[in-house]
């Protein structure tokens, strides 16, 4: 029984950065932009947030910096893919390469020559609810995790219950019609990128400012790419994206715990588990995938 609760707790922790990334990517893609800059955006945000927190001594300033970096890189993505109308795949990958290189370069300038990764004196603490009860391992989480779960209904409300959400979805489905209806396609897409970038920034900051309180260059390690897969799995819907993030996080938590419990299975099978089952799940659900119709298409007015 205890195993189940510690497993749930680990699931929530592991899902958190992926959920932030996936929610951010979902918002952007709903507006018609595939942001492959997510991996680099999360990395540079994690790094920038860490440096700001260390220099200023304030983890909140660190978080703000991480969000600001996420937004700035997304604005760059917007300038390239919306304003200039360049290929989204190329722009996104370019931003990931730029941000990764920049993070490594700045890391070397600031922390070069140290044999152990730099760490914060004080990182975000865990918020322990239900202390002393059997639920404690489930609800001993960082504020980021609780907040991530609040973002899911918030984004569902934003997308489906507000006029802004309607505009956002319409520029992702049929920008020509939206333009005819007087909606600014460019501005709506930029706003979507800003929201998405902020969420990606928080996801990066979770790793460097809360879960580890330290920075090393492998800190994101593909979580951005996983987030993109989760968006497809989630069919661009907030609640299903949450389910996808929890599924992936849960399997990851399970394989680490089975290894630790000394379950007699080759560890390679355990390591494969989250990825294999995610692929299977996408193969099943992906058949009904309903891509935003205008995804990947730069918008240009006719004539």
């Amino acid at each position: 029984m205890e195993f189940i609760f510690t497993l749930l707790g680990a699931t929530l922790r592991i899902s958190t950065p992926i959920l932030y990334g996936a929610l951010g990517e979902m918002v952007v893609e709903r507006a018609g932009i595939l942001n492959l800059g997510i991996e680099g955006t999360m990395l540079l945000s994690a790094f920038g947030g860490f440096v700001a927190a260390q220099l200023s001594g304030s983890i909140y300033l660190g978080l703000a910096t991480a969000i600001a970096i996420g937004i700035l890189l997304s604005l760059l993505m917007g300038f390239l893919s919306i304003t200039l109308g360049l290929n989204q795949h190329v722009c996104g990958l370019g931003i990931t390469l730029l941000a990764s290189g920049l993070a490594l370069f700045l890391f070397r300038i600031i922390y070069g020559g140290e044999s152990i990764p730099p760490a914060l004196e004080e990182s975000f603490p865990q918020l322990r609810l239900f202390s002393g009860t059997i639920l404690e391992p489930v609800f001993s989480q960082y504020v980021f995790t609780y907040a991530a779960f609040l973002f899911v209904p918030l984004l569902a409300w934003l997308l489906y219950r507000t006029s802004f959400g309607l505009r956002l979805r319409s520029v992702g489905e049929n920008p020509e019609a939206a333009d005819t209806a007087g909606i600014s396609v460019f501005r709506t897409r930029y706003v979507a990128l800003i929201i998405g970038g902020a969420l990606m920034g928080i996801g990066g900051a979770f790793l460097s400012l809360a879960q580890l309180g330290a920075f090393t260059h492998g800190i994101i390690n593909g979580r951005g790419w996983v987030a993109i897969a989760i968006v497809i799995f989630g069919n661009w819907k907030p609640w299903r994206v949450l389910a996808g993030a929890l599924l992936f996080g849960g399997l990851q938590a399970l394989q680490l715990r089975l290894q630790a419990e000394g379950v007699q299975l080759p560890y390679e099978i355990l390591l494969m588990l989250p990825y294999v089952l995610t692929i299977v799940a996408i193969a099943i659900t992906g058949r009904n995938a309903s891509y935003p119709a205008a995804l990947l298409k730069p918008y240009r007015r006719e004539g």
Partner: protein, 338 residues
Amino acid sequence: MKKLALLVCLLLLLASFGGVAAQDEPLVVFGAFATPIEEPWDGVIHAALTKAQEDGLIDYSFQDEIGYSGDMEIVLREVADDLQPAIIFGDAFGNEEAVRRVARDYPEIAFVFGSGLGPSQPNLSVFDNWIHEPAYLSGMLAGSLTESNVIGVVGGYPVPEVNRIINAFVQGATEANPDAQVLVTFLNSWFDPAAAKEAALAQIDAGADVLFAERFGVIEAAQENGLLAFGNMSDQNELAPETVVTGPVWDMEPTVDFVINQVASGAYTGLDLKDFSMMGQGGASLAPYHSFEDTLDPDLVAMVSARQQEIVDGLFRVDINEEIPAEAVVPGEATIGG
């Protein structure tokens, strides 16, 4: 006659001067690393070369993050043609064939590479992080310090270099405490501290109260739970002074110094430089205890020190076992894989 004598003297003087000048001129040395130098493995090589540069022994430049997709050969050939260094240090893991091909084409350059394979004449020497001895000593400490009799180990990949460190640690732990059970988890990643931390938390939930952090991220989990941990590769006490007892440390200085001397004296040849990364030559050591100096049981420290002296004196050999640690595989797997 007098003139001739003067000329001879002058020539001798010049020759000796020239000889001295040649000796004083630092050797040109290049570092070729597949990973960023922030990665601990290549970081150790880079640190030793930087130190030799500061000591005025070599004229050192490097390129890192060369990767595993063919660039290593290009970089090595360009450097060999343009810079024409006396020695190229680097790591050949993942680039073995490229390194060996280039080394064959430039026999006048000493190639000294981290490798899981053997040396090759005339000019390719190999080294590796042979830090199983201090890993064994760390295991002795861990086995004595655990109260739950469960020790957790989080490793990157089950490759020979990692396996022999973990196996030596397990050997030390079970020797000091026959009841100790060691949990081994692999991440299949060299660099994912968040996953490493989760793996360590899972081991803590499974009862582990002492952790061996082959990778970064584990120490944070131990610290958060008020447990003890052992670092790896470098002295990591600074990360968590109340948590990190000690750990195996790798130092490439003896290897670098030896190779520089060999090349400078013209005696260089392709060798397995293993011994220079072990305790006897100072290439491996146990990290300082720092604040644990005062809190560790003196009898335990004395036992470990005595064993360390036996290793340095050549009286005790730590087994080199590069099989996948038994805890991490199905029974019988070892014989299939081995």
